[in-house]
Symmetry: C3
Subunit: 337 residues, 3 copies
């Protein structure tokens, strides 16, 4: 019989069950789209109105919403987190058996644990090490002096250029490039001189690096990503940046050289951080904002202007250019206040 | 004899000809740079002044401009579109003969049409299908459960991670990654928990996906790109986004999770769309604008401030921070109006 | 005996030495972190306070700072540039011996100089040429009609799609895509028509192209990057752009079609340049600014608003929308001035 009984899920994930324990769960879906056999969840109060009409087989929710459910429920302290854990049970996982694909090119001085999977057309350079249960997907290239920790998963086409050390269980999506040269230049007699990039990249345990994200290696010293940092797609991390544990950055954000971001920060999509700044712990930067000075207080920070109809925007934009003049005239004209 | 006679081009593309029908056309160029044997075009009235002095062999233009041409003309309803079609006749197309390159690694359960071209070092995973006349360029990696429709062209080094279904004639440029995990996280007891990404990506017929663009697969349900959507380079499309038919997005734009963009929209370069928003049909977003609320009326929308000399900009920027205070003082000081 | 004597370094790089000539230098580091055997540098006056307490074996600095050093010094006109040159002596360089890796697929009509290194899984297409001492790293794909000049270094996984001509000593980092189709579309009868991209890309001597950067080929005519242009990661250069010599662009910046950027410009991170504009020589654009009109005077230019606490920002943002009205009321109310 396929799927799992609701009682089994409740036990496995430490949740309270209300309703028929034998209910079979064969997959997961949203409250609005779930059908027979599917488990849904209610985490955001905004969607509570969808509960009464759900066709889900069962719902994961918090204690206060349980009474309103027309179907069996699993009661969780953190319904979204519990749902995430349960959903992982239903995720199809392609087989990646231990062993080195015959097409892979592995340097004689590299060490690959026998339990690791090395896919087709992978290249592993001198003195690099791949630990137990790591998966190196097709077309990945690992250069010299790299370490891939236990249980890491390089999905496919990941490049670790040189001196990149990954902790345990790091997940890296296709197209990511870690350890490329930082952007170091000195102007000399009218031409650029390249500044050698002698450092590496250190990535802590349980980090995730999105597709086509780039993390440059340090100039002198390393670029450091602490544990449980989550990076979305197309993020750019320059040389010698330091990102604190549990920080999450959304797609297309960018951090310039030697900036230091604290722990538990949330960096919005396409937001930027200038070089050599410091951001303390628990700072949120909203999407497309530019951090142009250090931040010493936790909180939410923004820059930019709101979206407007283009005609109205053009008028405001013209006035923005006159802003200092307008403000001065305002002050000048009311001297008697 | 190389090239095509002007009369032959006129017939093939349904255009009226004025001037010598035997004029040989061997290539295409701009009005300003065209020389002997080259066909130019005039679409933008701004360039009309270049017509009198063109050295082109012939010009594609609209009826109202025909009389001013010193050389033979092809008269078109839409000169730029006709020029595009004619230019395609002169495009060198590298040969991509049917067959599977001996170095490719194709899973035993995958199906590849005999008329498809599979290039060097391509990997095709379990249960994936490649349809007739598709071209899969070198270093492309197609994961599990993908479909590449008839006449698709993956130029080189394209990654379809898992559950990506392409319609017919989809063109994808190098470095693009479709079907990577969406960015789904739940905070639980001080650490991030990954939310499994169980959906796929559906791409309609005649879409184009630029170099290093990323389109994540859905969390629950699919990310959907309707037919004839045109995506430039380095675009980021998050999980569960839906983009309507005939929409075009310029380079470096980004759409956050579950946003819905209508049909015939134009999204400018590096513009951003926040998550869970809806944009109706026929909306234009100017470059580097941030869409921070849903848009229900067709039209052009913008955010940001105009470019200024840095010294002047600094003064306006300081005043922007005081804006609420300035506005309040203005209101306060004129209570008698 | 490992390392170099300070006297040898002084002679090799034309610097004056003060202190023990036999001092052994085995590596380089920052003033703050250098230890025994390490050479540091002082270029930015901001760090002068660190000089007195440095534990470096020696320091590269300018003449005016020499007297304050507690350790031997190398006196340089441009300490940062001299340091960069010296540091290159200590950079580990992986061996890339001449020859073609047996797994590489090289078209019969391609020409590869015997002194070039062609790495594993490289593909080289018809009529392309690779010059002396060039290094083509693993997984690179070079299409048809490309030229890789002498001493070029494609680190790994670089794609040159078609008609890309690199000068001498061009350095390209992983994931970069040069020569993909420009984004050319014509709307015709409710659907997009692709405009063929018939040009190429020309890159001058001594350029650097960052990881995952994209440079499209021209539509008619070429995209041109002059000599000594330095491009950081994830930059997007559209078709027919022209970038002048010695210009440097920071990560995530983007230039739209047919824009022309002068020589010795500095384009900040994530800055954008709209299409068909001209920027003269020696212009600096600050990070995340949008260049929306041509620039004819050297100088520094900016757009955007400063970072603020989100609550305060929301108030300013609301007022930005009312800006024209506020300005008008200010003018209206003081007609007698």
């Amino acid at each position: 019989m396929s799927g799992l009984a609701l009682a089994q899920i409740a036990e496995e994930f430490g949740l309270s069950l209300a309703g028929e324990p034998a209910t079979r769960i064969t997959g997961v879906a949203t409250l609005a789209t779930a059908g027979p056999g599917q488990l849904a969840f209610l985490a955001n109060p905004k969607y509570r109105g969808q509960l009464a009409s759900t066709r889900a087989a069962a719902v994961v929710l918090s204690a206060d919403a349980a009474a309103d459910s027309p179907v069996p429920v699993l009661i969780a302290r953190n319904p979204y987190a519990s749902f995430a854990q349960i959903a992982a049970r239903f995720e199809p996982r392609p087989e990646r058996p231990p062993g080195i694909h015959p097409s892979a090119v592995v340097d004689a001085s590299a060490e690959v644990d026998p339990s690791a999977h090395i896919g087709p057309f992978v290249v592993i350079g001198a003195r690099s090490r791949v630990a137990a249960a790591a998966v190196i997907g097709a077309h990945s290239a690992i250069g010299e002096d790299c370490v891939v920790g236990p249980g890491c998963h390089l999905v496919a086409r990941v490049t670790l250029v040189t001196r990149v050390r990954l902790g345990a269980r790091v997940l890296i999506h296709p197209g990511a490039v870690l350890g490329a040269d930082g952007f170091g230049l000195a102007m000399d007699q009218g031409a650029w001189l390249k500044v050698p990039q002698l450092g590496g990249v250190i990535v802590g345990d349980d980090c995730e690096v999105g597709a086509n994200t780039t993390i440059d290696r340090g100039a002198l010293g390393d670029t450091v990503i602490e544990e449980d940092v989550r990076l979305d797609n197309q993020i750019q991390i320059a040389h010698n940046v330091h990102i604190g544990a549990h920080t999450a950055m959304a797609g297309c954000s960018a951090v310039a050289g030697s900036a230091r971001i604290g722990r538990y920060c949330l960096i919005g999509g396409a937001a930027g951080v200038l070089g050599h700044l410091e951001i303390c712990d628990r700072v949120t930067i909203t999407a497309m904002s530019l951090v142009s000075h250090s931040i010493r207080e936790p909180g939410e920070y923004s820059s930019g202007t709101p979206l407007m109809d283009n005609r109205a925007w053009r008028k405001s934009a013209v006035r923005f250019k006159q802003l200092d003049e307008l403000a001065r005239s305002l002050t000048r004209r009311t001297p008697d206040e």
